[in-house]
C-alpha cells in the first residue's frame, strides 16, 4: 500500500506549481489554470486524508463540494474575462489598471 506522504508530496508539487502559475502569468485564462491546479491539489489532500485517517467519508464529501465550487468559479471567472476582453481588448492582467489611471 502506498504511503500517505507520497500523495501529500504530489499534492504539494501541484499546489506550488499552481502558485507559480498564478504569480507569473499575465494572461487571465492562464491564471485560472493555476487556480484549478491549486484546487485539485487541495482535493487530493482531502481524499488522501479521508482514506488514511479515521474521518471516514467526510473528506470525500468536502472534495465533492470543492468540485462544485470550482465549476461555479470557473464559469463566473470566464464571464469576467470575456467582459474584460470586450472592454479593454486584452486579457493581460497588467493592462487591467483602469482604476489606477
Amino acid at each position: 500500500m502506498i504511503e500517505l506522504k507520497y500523495f501529500l508530496l504530489v499534492s504539494a508539487c501541484l499546489f506550488s506549481l499552481g502558485v507559480f502559475g498564478v504569480l507569473t502569468r499575465r494572461n487571465a485564462v492562464n491564471v485560472l489554470m493555476g487556480v484549478e491546479l491549486i484546487l485539485n491539489s487541495a482535493n487530493l489532500n482531502l481524499v488522501a486524508f479521508s482514506r488514511y485517517s479515521s474521518v471516514g467519508i467526510d473528506g470525500q464529501m468536502f472534495a465533492v463540494f470543492v468540485i462544485v465550487v470550482a465549476a461555479a468559479e470557473v464559469a463566473v471567472a470566464l464571464a469576467i474575462v470575456l467582459t474584460l476582453y470586450r472592454v479593454l481588448n486584452t486579457v493581460n492582467l497588467d493592462r487591467a489598471d483602469v482604476l489606477k489611471r
Binding site: 501529500l8 508539487c13 506549481l17 502558485v19 493555476g34 479515521s54
Partner: protein, 166 residues
C-alpha cells in the same frame, strides 16, 4: 517494488510533469491540453485512494466541463486569425522563489508531522455512502451548493450578454 508502486510513480510523474507544462509553456493551447493530462492523473490518483465516485466526477466535471470552458476562454479572447496564442511571464524570479518556499514548507510539514493514521481500510464502493451523506448530514450544504450553481449560471449569463439588447 510492486506493480502498484510502479503505476503510482508513473501517474505521479505524468501528473506533475504536465502541471509543469501548464505553468511554463508559452503557448496557451499547450497549457490547456496538458491540463487535460493533469486532471486525468489526479483522477487516477483518486482511484488509488479508493474514491471511485470522485474519480468519475473528476473526469466528468473537470475534463468534460471546466477544460472545455477554459478552451472556450482561450478561443474567445484571441482573434482567430492571430494563431500564435502566446502568453508572457512576469516576475519570474519572485514567483519561483515564492513557489519554492511554499513547496518546501508544505512537503516539510507532510514528511515531519506524525499523522494519526489508521491501518489499512477495506476498499469498498463509496457512491452509496456519499449519496446517503448528501441526503442526511450534508443536506443543507447540498441545497446551498445547488443554489450557488444557479446563481453562478445566472451571473455568468448576465455578465457576458450584450449591453445593447437590454
Amino acid at each position: 517494488m510492486s506493480v502498484t508502486d510502479i503505476v503510482f510513480i508513473l501517474t505521479a510523474v505524468v501528473t506533475v510533469g504536465s502541471a509543469v507544462v501548464v505553468v511554463v509553456s508559452r503557448s496557451l493551447i499547450y497549457s490547456v491540453f496538458s491540463l487535460l493530462f493533469t486532471f486525468f492523473g489526479v483522477a487516477i490518483l483518486y482511484v488509488f485512494l479508493g474514491a471511485d465516485f470522485l474519480a468519475g466526477a473528476q473526469v466528468l466535471i473537470y475534463v468534460g466541463g471546466i477544460l472545455v470552458l477554459l478552451l472556450f476562454g482561450v478561443m474567445l479572447t484571441h482573434r482567430l486569425y492571430n494563431l500564435n496564442l502566446t502568453t508572457e511571464r512576469f516576475q519570474p524570479i519572485a514567483g519561483t522563489l515564492i513557489a519554492a518556499a511554499v513547496f518546501a514548507s508544505i512537503s516539510l510539514a507532510a514528511f515531519k508531522t506524525k499523522w494519526k493514521l489508521v491501518g489499512e481500510k477495506e476498499l469498498e464502493p463509496t457512491t452509496q455512502q456519499i449519496g446517503e451523506a448528501f441526503l442526511s448530514s450534508y443536506l443543507l450544504p447540498f441545497e446551498i451548493a445547488s443554489v450557488l450553481l444557479l446563481v453562478a449560471l445566472i451571473g455568468a449569463a448576465m455578465l457576458v450578454r450584450r449591453r445593447t439588447d437590454v
